[in-house]
Amino acid sequence: MRFYLVLIFTCVAGNTSFAQDCNSILFGEVIDFHDNTVLENATITITGKNLSTTSDEYGKFNFKTLCNGVIELEVSHPNCRTQFISIAINGNTYQKIRIEHHLEELNEVKVVGNEQKNTNSSQEEKLSKEDFEKSSGKSLGDALKNMTGVSSLNTGANVVKPVIQGLSGSRVLVINNNTRMQDMEWGQEHAPNIDINANQHISLIKGAAALEYGGDAIGGVIVLKPLPIARADSLYGKTQLNLFSNGRGGNISTSLTKSFESGFYLKAQGSLKRLGDIEAPEYILSNTGIKENGISLSAGKRDFVQGWEGYYSFFKTYIGILASSHIGNTDDLITAIESPTPLIINDFSYTIDKPSQEVTHHLAKLNYYRRFTGFGKLNVQYDFQNNRRFEFDRRIGDNADNASLDLKLSTHTVSSTIQLDSKKEFELKLGVLGRFQKNFANPETRVRRLIPDYNKYDFGAFVLGEFLMQPNLTIDAGIRYDFTRMNAKKFYRKSSWEERGYDEDFSQLIINDAGTQYLVNPIFDYHNVSAMTGLQYNLKENQTLKLNLSLAKRAPNPSELFSDGLHHSAARIELGDLRIKNESSRKISLSYELNSQKWGFVLAPYLNNIKNFILAEPNDLQFTIRGSFPVWSYRQTNALLLGTDFSLYNNWSSKIRTNHKFSYVKGTDESTNIPLINIPAANLNNSISYSNIKWNNFIVTLESQYVFEQKRFPPNITVFSPQEQREKELNINTPPPAYHLLSFDASSKFSIQKKNDLSIGLNITNITNTNYRDYLNRLRYFVNNQGRNISLRLIYNY
C-alpha cells in the first residue's frame, strides 16, 4: 500500500514542480514482484545519462545529484526481464521497483541446467532435444523407449503403447499440453492419439507422484508440453523431414511461431506421415501402412501477472493391421503360431486394407492464469476432447465397408489450480477438477458392442506441498481425492448374464428385457484417495538421493468392467467383470544420482505392491459355431512389481562418450505365485558416440540393444484342436527368444542463413537385419519384427 501512496505522491508532485534543483537523491529498492524479497545485484541505469548502479544485499540503491523532472530507469537482473520505469524526481525521492524473478511463465530466459521438474522426489526423465529429433518420425511410444525403464506394448510397428516400469494402458496418464488425454487408453491395441511433433517437450514421471495430473497413475505420467515461446518480436519456424527406407515413406512436420514483445503469440504446426507396408527381414508385413495427419494451433498471451492460451489440436491416424493377424478361431491361431512365415504375404503396397483402425482426436482448451502479488498464481482451464475410433474388419455382404467398432468418446474437463509460492521455504499447490465423459457405441456397426454407452463423472481435488527444510533437503507431500461415477447402459445376452452369475448379484440393474438380452444400467461409484511423500537430498554438490513413497488408486476402466464378447480382430473373447473394484498401488522408489563432467549414473530401484491388481489372461476356451476362441477374463489379484533402472555415462575424452542403460522388472501374482503376464523382459542398452564440434557439430553413435528372453510368464492353456482331433498346448504365453539389435546414427549441423540452422542426420536401425520377435508385440504369434530401416532426417530452423 505504501508503494502506491509513494507513487501517487511522486506523480502528483512531479507534475507540479519544475524547479531546476539538481541535488535530489533517488533512493530505490528492488524487490521481487512475486514474494516481496529483495533482489541483490540488479543493475539500474538512467537511460540517456549513462549513470549506472547495482542494488546492494538489501536490494537498495541510490542516485545522487539528480535534477528534478522525469527520468527513465532501466532495471535488469540476472534471470529477469529488463524493465523500463519512468520516475518523477521531486526532491529526495523514494522508489520501490518490482521486477519478476520467478520465470516459469517466461521460460525462454530460464537458466539452462536448472530444468523445472514436475515432481521433487520422484524418478523423472526428460527426452533430450537430440533424442526427440531422432524420434520425430516415430510414435510417442517409440520416442519414449529412449528412456530407462520404458518399453512398449505393440500391435505391429505403428500401434505403440508406452509401458513404464512394467505397467501400461490406464495406468499411464498422458498429459498433452496440460490436458489429460481421453482416448480409450483401455484397449491393448489403442495407442495414444498424439502427434509428438505438436508438443516437443516430453518428460516422464515413473509412478504416481505427480498427483497434480491424477491419482491413478500407477504406472506413470507422460507430460508433453509445447516448447517455450520467446517474448520478443519475432517470426520463426522449424521444418523437419524424415524419410524411411522401411515402409518406403516418411513424415514432414512444420511449425511457425509469431511472437510479440507484449507476450502475445500465435503458433501453428502441422505434420503429415505416410508409410507403406513395413518389411521384416525376409518378408513384407502386408497391410501395415499408416497415414497420419496432425494440426495444432495456439494463440495466447503470456505476461508475468496474467496470461491466457487457446489451443486446438487435431490428430487423425489410419493404420493398417497386419493381414495375417486377422484370424478366425483357435485352430487358426494354432496354425498361425506354428507357421514360421505369415499366412498372407502380398507385394509391397501403400494401400491400407482391412483390418484397419481409423482414429480422430480433437482437443480444444482455454486456459487463463493470474498471479497475485505476495500470494501466488491462479490457473483456470477448460478443455474438450472428442475421440472417434473406427475399427474395420474383413466383412462380407452389405457390411463389407462398415466398421466393426465405432466409438465416440467426448470429454469436458474444468480444472483450477492455485499455486502459493510466495514463500521461499515452501510452495503449496491446490487444485480441483470436474469432468464429464460420454461414450457412444454406434449400433450401426451391426456388431455387438464391446464397450457400452456410458456417462462418467469425475471430481478430484488435491493439495501438494514442497518444503525446503535445509539448503540441501527438500521434502514434498501431497494428497488427492477422486470420485468417479460410472453410469452405463449395456445389453447382456441372457446366457452371458447368467453364466457370469450376474442374475444373483445384479438383477436389480436390469431395466429392460429385450428378448434374448437384458438392458442393464449399472451405476457404480468409486472413491479414491491417493497420497505421496518424498524427499530430495543433495549429498554433495553433484550427488542427489531421492526417496518417494506413493499410494495411488485407480477405478476400473470400461473395458475391465464391461468387456463382453468376441474381439473380432484379435480372435479372442474378452470378459470384464462388474464386480471389479478399484486397484491400489503402494510404491517405494529410490534413486541415487551422480552427475559430473566426467561421468555420472542413476540407480533407481523400486517396489510396487498393487492390491486388487486388474489383469486379463487367457484362461479358458469358449465354443461357437465358428470354432473355439481363447477367453481372456479380467480378474483381480495382489501383484508385486520389483525392479530397477540403471543408467551410466562416461566421457572418455571431450569427443568420446559411452552410455549404458539397464532395466529389469519382475512381476508376480502374489496370490498364486505365478508370474504376471506382459511384463517386459530385462534389457541392456550400450552406446558409444564420437562428437566433434569443429566438423560441423558432427556426432556419430553406435548403439547395441540386447533384450533378454522373458523366462517368467504365466502357463499356456491347453485346447482341443478339432482339426487334429487331440488336446494340445496353445503357446499363447510363451515369450520369444532373446535378441540383439544394432543401430547407427550420424548427424551434422550446417549454417545456411543463421548459425547451425540446418541439421542433417542418417539413422539405421536393426543394421544386421536380424529376425526377431518381441514378447510385448501382440503380433509376435504371426510375424517377425521390422527389419533394417535406413532413415534420413533434415531439420531446418528459420
Binding site: I396, G397, N399, L519
Partner: protein
C-alpha cells in the same frame, strides 16, 4: 506490510474458489441434465447360428447333422445333433444349409454363399469310418464350393466329419486348410457311427 497482505489473500482465495464453484456447478448442471435415452440393441449381421447337413442315400433314411448356436459368441456352446447312424460302405449325397435363427423368420445364409461362391469354400476332414468326401459343385471359375458333396463310408465303426467354411480363401488351393487360408465362418466337428 506482511499483515496487510492477509485480507488480500483471503479475498483472492475466496474469489478463486467462488469462480471455480460457479464453473463446476455449470459443468455439472449441464451434464446432469443430459438425460440419456436407452441405447438401441445391435442388429447383428453375418451371424450363422445353424448348419444343417443332409446326407441322402438311396434305400436308407436321410441322416441330418446339425449344429445350432443360438447365442452366437455367448457362453453357450453349440448344440450338435446327429439324427442317426450311417450305413457302412455306402455313398451319400450331401447338401448344406446355413441359417441365421436369431432373426424371425430365420434368414437363409446359403443363398449368400451361392451368390458369392468364388469367395467361399467348405473343407471336409473325414476320419475313422468316414472314408472320403468329394465336391460335387463348382463356382464360376470351376473351383469347388462344397454346398453339395458326396460322402463315402467305410467299414462299421466310429468316425467323424469336420466341416469348415472359409471365406476369402485362396482359390484354387490344394484342398488343405493351411493352403487355403482365409477366415473361418464355421468350424464344426460331427462324430458319427457307421454300422
Amino acid at each position: 506490510m506482511k499483515k496487510s497482505h492477509l485480507p488480500v489473500k483471503k479475498s483472492i482465495l475466496s474469489r478463486a474458489l467462488f469462480t471455480s464453484a460457479i464453473i463446476f456447478s455449470l459443468c455439472f448442471v449441464t451434464s446432469c441434465s443430459d438425460d440419456d435415452e436407452d441405447p438401441d440393441p445391435v442388429v447383428e449381421e453375418e451371424v450363422i447360428t445353424t448348419i444343417t447337413v443332409t446326407l441322402t442315400s438311396a434305400g436308407s433314411p436321410d441322416i441330418i447333422l446339425e449344429s445350432k448356436d443360438l447365442d452366437g459368441d455367448g457362453p453357450d456352446a453349440p448344440v450338435i445333433t446327429v439324427s442317426g447312424n450311417l450305413v457302412a460302405n455306402s455313398t451319400y449325397a450331401g447338401s448344406i444349409e446355413l441359417l441365421n435363427e436369431t432373426e424371425s423368420p430365420a434368414e437363409n445364409i446359403t443363398e449368400e454363399i451361392e451368390e458369392k461362391d468364388e469367395e467361399h469354400q467348405f473343407f471336409f476332414t473325414p476320419s475313422g469310418s468316414v472314408s472320403g468326401v468329394t465336391y460335387t459343385d463348382q463356382d464360376g471359375n470351376g473351383n469347388p464350393i462344397g454346398l453339395s458333396f458326396s460322402l463315402t463310408t467305410g467299414d462299421a465303426g466310429s468316425g467323424a466329419l469336420q466341416i469348415t467354411l472359409r471365406h476369402e480363401p485362396k482359390k484354387p488351393n490344394d484342398g488343405s486348410l493351411n493352403d487355403a487360408g482365409g477366415e473361418t465362418d464355421i468350424a464344426q466337428n460331427f462324430s458319427v457311427t457307421v454300422e
